[in-house]
Each structure stands twice: as C-alpha cells, then as structure tokens.
Symmetry: C2
Subunit: 411 residues, 2 copies
C-alpha cells in the first residue's frame, strides 16, 4: 500500500467483496518504503555487534509499519461504511517463536477474529509480526505479510487466501525473456515451490510452504487490477495454487521454465571416492555460511570421483579460497576449477512424475540450438541444467516452445 | 526527539546518568512531527462521523510513533554500550480505561521493569499509550508522554521524575512579556497547577495532577542543555515541583504572574436571585460543550443579581446565541452583554494562604498604572482579575515588579 489513495482503493475493493457476502480477514503490508525508512533510522543508531537485544528492538521498530497501515485501512473501511477493527499481532495473538527478525508462527488464536466476523465486521490482522511466549514483539522477516495472511487463512479455515501482489499471477516463464509466456490459471503447490526458489519471485517461499502444510488454496493476483472490476472476474483472475492431486489432472506435463544467473559452479576433481567426502567438502562450506544449490557427484572411476556444486556468485571467491586452504590438502588433490559465467535453467512440472522422456526432450531441444550442457540435476518434478550463461535466453525460449507453453498453444 | 542525531544525544545523556549509578526508566515521546504525520494520513481517510471504532484505530495508529522512537532509543543506548530494553504500553502493561484518544492510566505493573533494572538494564517505557482491560491500545491524548513518565515514576517510587522539555524551567512570568522574569528553583504543586492552567504551558496539566496525587518530585528541565554538562549541575537545573509544605517555607508570597487573552466575558444582568439560577445558566452552556473559567455572582439587590462568567473566545458567539435562545426567556431578562477584548491576569503563590493584604497590594499596583479592573475572582493561592486586553503587558510587568519577582530582586 503506497499512499492514502492506495489504501482508499484497497478499502473499496474489500468493501466490494464484503458487500457480496464474504466474511473477510485482511492482512495489509506496511505502506511502501516504510519498513526501509524505519530500518534506515535504526542503522544510523545501531551498535557494531548484532545481538539478540538489538534484534528485539529492530522488531519492535519494524512492526510499527504494519500496525500503522492496518489502522489506516480500518479507518478507510469505516469511511466506506463498513464496520472494521484492526489487531496487532499480539492482540490476536499470533504466537511465534523468539527468533527475532525471522520468527516462525506457532499458533493463532482465532476467537476474537471469529467473534468480530460473526458481528459483521471486516477484521484486519497486522501482517509480518507476532508475539513470543514472553510477550516480546517479533517479525517474520521480509515478505512476512504473505506468510501471515496464509497462516491466518489456515487458522480460519478460509475458502481461499488471495494474495494481492505486483504481478498478476504465475507465468510459464519470465515474460521479459519469452514474450509468449502465458499466465497459469492453476499451478500445483510443488511446482510453485520449485518456481519460487528458482527466481519466479512471486511469493515468499515460506508462505507457499505454509499454505502447503495447511492446504490453504492460495490465489496470487494483481493489486493493480481496478478495484471495481466485476467480482466474478476478479475471483478467477491471477493464478490459483492448488494442493489436491486430482485438481492437476488436466495439467500440462511441464508447467513452466525457471532460470537464474545468480550462481557459480565449482568442481573438485579426482577426489578419492570414500565415505565422508561429501560431508568433508560441504561441511566446510556450510560452516562458512555459504549456501549450496545444485550438488552433483557422478560414479567413480579408479577409486576417484569428481564432485561439483553451485553457490551464489557472491560467495564464489570465498568458497574457492576456503576449499583450497581447508579442504583440498586433506583430499590429496589440488585439482579445483569453476566458473561464474553460468546459468541454471529448469523445467518444472508435476506431470513429469508420471511421464517418461521429458528430460530427454529437454536435452534434445537444447542440443538443436547447439547448446552444451555442463551439469544436470533432477528431482521428481524438476530437471535443471547448468549452461554457459550466454545461452540463457536462447535456452529458455527453446524450452518454452518445445513444451508447448507459448501463448498460441492450447491451454 | 527530532532526528536520529537527537536520539543519539538523548542516549548519551541517559548513559551519563546510568554510569553515575542511577537506575533509570526512560519515557520517550515520538519523533517530532511523527504524531501529526500519522494523524494527517488518518484524516485523509476518515469517515465523517467520529465513532468509538474510529477512535480505537486512531489510537492504534498514533501509538506507533512512540513505539518506534522507544525502540530507536533502546538501539542507541546499546550503541553506547548500555544494556537496554523497550516496552510498549501493553507490554508493561500500563492499564488504562477505554476512553480512546484521552485514556486515563489505572495501574502500572512494575514487575518486568524492576527485574530489568535489577539486571542492570536501562528500561524504556513507551509513553503516551496504554492498554485497556480488553487488550485494546489506548492513548492518553496530547502531551501524554509527560503523564506516562510521571505515572511510571509513581509506580516505581522514583526519587525524582525529570521532564526534559523545550523550556528550561518554570518562570515567574513569561520572559517575552517581562524580560526580568526569573526561573524558579522550586515551585509548589498547587502553584504549578495554577500556572499551567493559566498559560505557562510548560507541562501537561494532567501530568502535574498525577505527580501531586502520588507525590512524585517532578523536575522540569531543558532538553537543549548539552548532554555532557556536569551531572551535578544538571541535577540542580530547571525547576523542581514540590509537594511537601515545609519545603516551601522559604517561598516568596507570590511565585508568579500568569495571564492569557484567550477568554471572553459574558454577563447576564438583572437575573432573579433564586435557587437554581446558576445551574439553569451554566447547565445550558455545559450541555453545548462550552467550557467556563471564571464565574462571578455578586450579592443581589432588590431580588435581582448580575451573573458573569468567562468562556474561550472561540466559543463566545455560540454562547451568546445559545443564552439568548434558550436561557434568557425563562429568566425574564434580555439584558446580556459581553466582550472578547479582555485578558485575565493572576498572581499565584502558595504563600498567599498565610499572608493578608496580598490582593489589596495587587489592586493597588494596577490602580497606580490607571488600569480598571472589570472582574475579580480569588482562590486560596491565586487572585485573578479581568482587564481590558490592551492593559495586559502593562499589568503583568507592574505586578511582577510590585511582588519583587524581577531578576534583580533577592531570591
């Protein structure tokens, strides 16, 4: 919510749904820029060390942004003639653990909210925040409003959780790379997880996990749709994330193409193939707080194997130095290589589980374009390849076409 | 607190006191302009009618300003190397009644605060706000941070409550009118009440009443004093508001001259002098939410009396119209007159209780300047006169001199 004008429009949209007979709980985010403004003030004043005491105050500070926008939305709804009431996280209460700045929701008491809904009120629950057992204010971390919304929907057993965001749904791939990209009417929870973690940054991944855990039907739709659009049209807009197997019967085999060029690859060659090697390598990397994505180890030859993985590009130099210093000597090899000039492209589809030959079709399409595959990694519903980054757009477009995802194709 | 720079300075000042061995609870106000900013946003969105539901949301909104500044101060203290923790009103909790936007404090639980002080922390309690029995956020109204500070000091049985404000103490009168005005080292609670309500707007009057009720020694001092001033000097700066009779033994008979020109006078003449007349007149005025200050009714002649009172200038026309329409007909008189061209000047002093001739001296001093007195009203520690407003400054200066309050006089 960017301005009072935007808040007033949100109120009109909520009023439209309420007048159509829906009982609603609304979870607003902070006004745009507000969280950054508050944290910038804190940064000017902060001590050099990050302590738990500091994190506690950062949460108390950041939580005010959503508290303010929630009260403002309640006021705007009253101006629309709708009874409304806002609750801060601690008032519901939304109980979390005590992990300041990245707390996890443990439980939600629905009594107050239900009573207010029964009394005909629109209930506004302040997103992004909660309260721990000891009564300290906590926040859920960036994008936490989505998670709050899903958690509240789960607690209320809502028919659907609508997430209004700055995109109008989940696409088969990024329309900036493939103009023919299509909006998916539905996408499975698992596919959404794979898409989200791969760069289709539509929803915070935790909110999707949460929705999956509690089977909350989740609809991603655009907050830029005019508020006075026909309600039946709005109810079908965006993308519905589903959790029931049978709902996906009609689904295409491949739902979308995900990609990124944030990663770098590292290979350690001629590693003795004995128990504990993977742990020896990746344990050291994890200890340095470097996250690893794709991991590949092929079968060994002559008692030696090659071990490859990808890390974020920003961590590449640190990882190489660390491995040379702490890992390679013990492995009896100094053969390490890597590159930051790579990209990762994945096909994602729940239908892949029951269809053979999908990966082969992927490799074929890439080969037709003359693209060499450097690494391959597969899961049940995703096949990823690591390529030279210069091929990224070409690969994405080729795969989008090969799997009949272009707009012209039948839905 | 105006900016992060100001907050950092407050932190340095608090750190100075803490390092000198004081256990401290700090009650910050919002950053300057923040409360107005938030309420302006609300105003843009508000419904035309002011309801309790709206007031509830306005409080939830306004309370965020102090919550943010409290967290920021806690962070700045940690940067100074001092352990610190901030509590919103509901976390302490500070219990209030449910009168949104003007709630009254009912109780304060000191357990958490005491435990933290014992653990060596500086405790920051968010001012201006509390929580009602049902768990709704309430605010105390403008200037409520002062009241919060006094209430917390009372609950903690603090040795002294220091209120840092934009003036450096209580003066014998307004230095803009009388350049010789002196800062009072001490002033009695009752005098402060009379001064505050008369225009020496140093402290919110409710905070002074609260301090009186719980006998909290209250020191008003300047927030513009450099933070690194010698601590013993700072401890003696400003004005101490006292509550013990014997502390005022040395006090001058008259402590200060208060004045304002916000009022208008209204007289109803030839009113039948019978029971219920004052109620008949003032009841109607009160019903219209018009506040009355001075009320004078002299003895009657021939069964008729004159009834005079003052109201705020803004209410003058409304009061006259109301009286003409609803009150005068039943009184059998149409003789009403009034003026907005008046001022009220008062001498205030707890010593007046035990000294005779003070009022006479006042009237003499005014007479010497040729100033005619229109109305006189007295209380135990105050004598007020209503004068033509053009004489205000002249009267204040004459009285300041007559009662030996000028800077050159002995303290």
């Amino acid at each position: 919510m960017g301005s009072t004008e935007r808040i007033a429009q949100v109120a009109k949209r909520v009023a439209k749904w309420a007048r159509a007979g829906h009982h609603m709980v609304v979870v607003p985010s902070a006004m745009s820029g507000e969280t950054n403004r508050l944290l910038a003030l804190a940064k000017e004043l902060s001590p050099p060390q990050h302590t738990d005491a500091l994190a506690r105050e950062l949460d108390a500070l950041a939580a005010t942004g959503e508290q303010a926008s929630s009260a403002l939305l309640a006021i705007a709804l009253q101006a629309e003639g709708l009874p409304s009431v806002s609750y801060a996280g601690w008032q519901v209460p939304i109980r979390t653990n005590s992990a300041y700045t990245k707390a996890r929701i443990e439980s939600i008491d629905d009594a107050k909210v239900r009573a207010d809904l029964a009394a005909g009120k629109v209930v506004i629950v302040t997103g992004f925040q909660g309260v721990d057992e000891a009564g300290n204010i906590t926040t859920l971390g960036r994008g936490g409003s989505d998670t709050s919304a899903v958690a509240v929907a789960a607690a209320m057993k809502a028919a659907e959780c609508l997430i209004y965001t700055d995109v109008d749904g989940v696409y088969t791939t990024d329309p900036r790379v493939v103009p023919q990209a299509r909006r998916l009417h539905t996408v499975s929870f698992e596919e959404m997880l794979e898409m989200a973690s791969m760069g289709s940054k539509v929803l915070q991944i935790r909110s999707v996990e949460f929705a999956g855990k509690y089977k909350v039907p989740l609809r991603v739709l655009s907050s830029f749709t005019p508020w006075d659009i026909d309600i039946h049209e709005e109810a079908k807009s965006g993308t519905l994330i589903t959790f029931e197997e049978d709902e996906q019967m009609e689904q295409a085999v491949v739902s979308g193409i995900a990609f990124n060029r944030d990663e770098a690859k590292i290979s350690i060659l001629s590693v003795p193939d004995k128990p504990g090697i993977a742990y020896h390598i990746l344990g050291a990397v994890a200890d340095a707080n470097i996250e690893v994505d794709v991991i590949i180890q092929n079968i060994s030859k002559d008692g030696k194997t090659d071990f490859s993985f990808t890390v974020h590009r920003n961590d590449y130099n640190r990882a190489i130095a660390l491995l040379k210093e702490k890992v390679l000597p013990a492995l009896g090899t100094d053969h390490i290589e890597g590159s930051t000039q790579i990209c990762k492209v994945s096909i994602v589809g729940i239908g892949m589980r029951s269809h053979v030959g999908i990966a082969a079709k992927m490799f074929g399409a890439l080969s037709q374009e003359g693209i060499n595959i450097q690494m391959i990694s597969t899961s049940e519903i995703k096949t990823s390849v690591v390529l030279d980054e210069k091929y990224m757009e070409l690969a994405v477009r080729a795969l989008h076409k090969a799997f009949d995802l272009d707009q012209s194709a039948a839905i």
